[in-house]
Symmetry: C2
Subunit: 321 residues, 2 copies
């Protein structure tokens, strides 16, 4: 298995449970493992009965396992602050107010959340010294498109260099004889920042393509199958490696002798779900790496180890290219 493992899928399908179960499995096999959660609803805090924050912290009672929780709302605000700060250093004070407004507007667009989260994932991958990092969500269509940013930025940076070379030239001609030090295009802070962003997304493209494996968690219903189909297309479009599918929340069968309204309901439901599971096996290319039955109790403690045992996902590391 590769170093970075992502469990994608729509909200509510059970990504956090599966991620924690797999991370537990890795840690028990002796790997130094970090699980990264972004889900404010069903959080690692519930699973491990312990609070986690923005930095990795050891999970009590589980050797070799650490966890961290990223709060996407906080990421958006931080991203906003950082962008403002970075630009304030680079433009005249008169423009700061105007630019701040534009940046705030940009951060209110629906995609800001995904973009900020993606930035943070890149940080985590960059800083990681763990054997395995397990993410309880995967970047989706919108964020994955950011992987094509380097090409766009290349073009943009080239044009900007032209424009700024020209303007520095004009500036110097106007200031002939002045004491102003020579401005150099190499030191231009805006171009520097664009280059940094470009390198960051180049790193992300490489890390996600060469050092990461993606799994998709789904439930046995039409909507979830359709979403999975779409997510597989996205992953395929960006050449990302899919390790398999996990089908979660299968309805338990009633006992053989049971009869009545409840038993009939469950049997019909199970029959429906079996059809969906069959469809997944037949129509989706990646292998099914686990089918997990609904538990009424919260999945934690022994139940988590039980789910971990139901995952047919390998643990051993493979050499990174």
């Amino acid at each position: 298995m590769r170093e970075f493992v992502f469990f994608g899928g729509k909200g509510g399908v059970g990504k956090t449970t599966v991620s924690c179960a797999y991370a537990l499995k890795c840690a028990r096999a002796g790997l130094d493992t970090l699980v990264v959660s972004t889900d404010p609803a069903h959080s690692t805090a519930d699973v491990f009965d312990q609070e986690f924050g923005d930095e990795p912290r050891p999970v009590e009672g589980h050797d070799g396992l650490s966890a961290m929780e990223i709060d996407p709302d906080e990421e958006v605000s931080e991203h906003l602050m950082e962008t403002k700060r970075a630009l304030a250093d680079q433009v005249s004070p008169a423009m700061v107010n105007e630019i701040d407004k534009q940046i705030e507007l940009a951060h209110q667009t629906p995609g800001a959340y995904e973009a900020a989260l993606f930035d943070r994932f890149i940080d985590v991958m960059r800083d990681s010294d763990h054997d395995r990092v397990v993410f309880d969500t995967a970047p989706t269509g919108g964020a994955l498109r950011l992987l094509s940013l380097p090409e766009f930025l290349d073009d943009w940076i080239a044009r900007l260099i032209d424009k700024r070379t020209e303007s520095i030239d004009l500036y110097e001609r106007a200031a002939i004889g002045g004491r102003e030090a020579r401005r150099r295009i190499e030191d231009d802070p805006i171009i520097e920042r664009l280059r940094e962003r470009k390198e960051m997304f180049e790193f992300a493209g490489h890390a996600l393509r060469e050092r990461a494996t993606f799994f998709l968690v789904l439930n046995p219903d039409e909507l979830s199958l359709r979403e999975t189909d779409r997510a597989l297309d996205d992953l395929d479009e960006y050449d990302l490696s899919v390790g398999g599918l996990l089908i979660n929340r299968l309805t338990p069968e009633p006992d053989d002798g049971e009869d009545g309204h409840g038993a009939r309901y469950l049997r019909e439901r199970c029959a429906n779900e079996r059809e969906r599971v069959a469809t997944v096996h037949e129509e989706f290319a990646p292998p099914v790496r686990g089918t997990i039955e609904t538990r009424v109790a919260e999945i934690k403690g022994d139940l988590l180890a039980e789910v971990a045992a139901e995952l047919d996902i390998e643990v051993a590391t493979e050499p990174t290219p």
Copy 2:
């Protein structure tokens, strides 16, 4: 009830079913009703066994009921084309290529989908001559933020007018004696377009605040309750009127005499769900306007009329302000 009725909630909670059931109820009460679906998964085509397109079409077998389906992907492409066309008319040919690239990039951001859909909703509301229009989804946080666009645009338009007045002035001084007709700021196509957009969002703000009611559909699970809480905050922030909540997909109780693995599972599950329903009644301000039990069969035909009867949502129109 107001003219426009939106059923919001996360994917998979059953918005299309509830919307179609309510639309049926309105049509049967003699209102000329349109149901607008945007959900490619569980579509009105399945509910009514008939294909619908981008324009309202009568639903066979149901007097006074029409339906249309908006394909959000298509909306994004159309929006892209239209933006390109509008700008191509307004800038020099040399800039068209550059601008096309920027527009494409903007349409690849995660929020483009929501924004394009919101534009289309505004069109539908503007063109409507129905007594009641029922939408099977509601704009969420990201799209609702567009309601604050008019203020931003006001500022932006004022600045642009300044800049362009200045540039027209310079242009005319340079062209003194030429045959060029006098350029007038009133005819400026870019400012014209900004004004159109501003008016459109002003209309949207008014229509959503004064002529629309929002309902939220949820399921009796933690994640859905949390999402509903967030959605209510959003609606509240933009002063939108919430008519109530619909709790969908309640697990049916087994018969009294039933025993066994299946019955025990169902009883525990029902007990859990009852707790969630109680929480909704206690902690959410809007009234619960229906609790709908899960059916194994697809909800259509007689079953749809059955669900319609379970909705405690009024039908009669109220005068629009």
